[in-house]
Subunit: 262 residues, 2 copies
């Protein structure tokens, strides 16, 4: 069933309703506050408009590209290029001008500092690049990022096995309970008993990039078809009064501090 | 002393030497491996070229912009816009086409998940956007990211006070020992005894964005003048055999696990 048939069937898609509401909110904000969306001083003539034109991609093909790209530009830029590269061919601008290779630095949780896994960071960038930021009235990019980080934390990764892997031996999967590179890679290294610089660890991370690209494209395709619904059920700010993950005791032990409350 | 005089004085700047070495490396790689820099399948006609043209910015003016922008687009996009917005006016493309507002999702350590502070993530993006990725032969963007995360972790933040702050009462400063939003914000909240949604916590984060933008522009200006030298003295991969920070015992206590070694 194509997109137009689906919209015909439903009358109006969820995405159209939300885009319409966002447009109203944006217009109202501009009228009332004189520039919530565009700040002339800061953005100086930007051509930022959302959503960017999107054509549905094949998740498995995207994952294969991400896997190969990992060995050229590492996790974050591999995920970005797996989507942006295909859309450069299918759509052209604004994807052509987006400097995807600049994001090599996402590797190792940002230049080796072990913060957010580059695959997650890259996927978040792609979702928000295409759908746009919540301050412009679109909430689905924000929601997809939350979904992806929860999926990453709760899933035995990697989920995707490439057709022609560089490592043919079995690689274990691990659940990180965290979107952080340090924790995700550390738990896998412990399970596999392989060092950071081993070919197996590298191939595991290439497959995690591929797995994340696969999941990202599934969500973008749903969004494109008006079928996207957020699956994330966690908000650290609401539940715990501080930004964070759901693995409090992993670092804090039984002594989880209580943040100051309003 | 202007840039040309400085180059004249020194003969050849450090940056020129490194850019030249990078160009040679890139040419050699293309000749030998047929596409380390450009992967036709993945990038499909990209116009990615580095470095992007850069004009020196005033750190204090940039910080004031970042402070104001925080209240529109939050930490990550505020840092990005504080630099990109000015360069749109001073340079034009490719900054005009860069979708800076898409990075609102960096807020709260990426949509509230408390991973890397959005100010650090935004600064890393700007440095690598302008200087380019290490796979294209330029290492200074990578190095500046390491410098900035170490500076962020070791410095009593915020360092910058805006001319007309929204909160006029004294705000404490704290050293995070980490680039993670959860830890940086948590330590500040504990010291200030203020909840996440308080105006004081928000203004603290706006000032952290401003402080980071200030430091970023100092480093970019040094790079532009050929005077940049990396100050980072930490590599988790080399020292500990895993990606990470230098605050191992903060989460692990005395029982820091030993990762599998080669």
């Amino acid at each position: 069933m194509g997109k137009d048939e689906k919209i015909e069937k439903k009358g109006v898609s969820r995405r159209q309703v939300m885009a319409g509401a966002g447009m109203f909110a944006a217009t109202a904000a501009l009228a009332n506050f004189g520039g919530l969306i565009k700040n002339a001083e800061a953005t100086g003539g930007s051509t930022e408009n959302w959503p960017w034109p999107y054509k549905k991609l094949d998740p498995a093909k995207t994952a294969e590209i991400a896997y190969k790209e990992w060995y050229r530009v590492f996790c974050g830029a591999a995920v970005i290029n797996s989507v942006v590269g295909q859309l450069r061919e299918k759509v052209g601008e604004p994807y052509t001008s987006f400097p995807a290779d600049a994001f090599v630095f996402l590797e190792g949780g940002q230049v080796g500092w072990g913060t957010i896994c580059g695959s997650s960071a890259g996927a978040n960038i792609v979702a928000n690049l295409i759908i746009g930021p919540r301050v412009a009235g679109a909430h689905e990019g924000h929601e997809i990022s939350k979904d992806l980080m929860q999926w990453y934390s709760e899933t035995a990764l990697p989920t995707f096995t490439p057709k022609n892997p560089k490592i043919t031996a079995h690689l274990p999967t691990t659940i990180s309970e965290s979107p952080l590179c340090h924790i995700s890679v550390g738990k896998w290294m412990k399970e596999a008993n392989k060092p950071l610089k081993s070919p197996e660890r590298k191939d595991r991370c290439a497959r995690v990039a591929a797995s994340t690209a696969y999941r990202l494209v599934e969500l973008l395709n749903e969004w494109h078809d008006g079928d996207y619904e957020s699956s994330s059920d966690f908000s650290a700010a609401s539940e715990h009064g501080i930004t964070g993950q759901f693995n409090c005791m992993e670092c804090h032990g039984a002594d989880v501090p209580e943040p100051p409350q309003a």
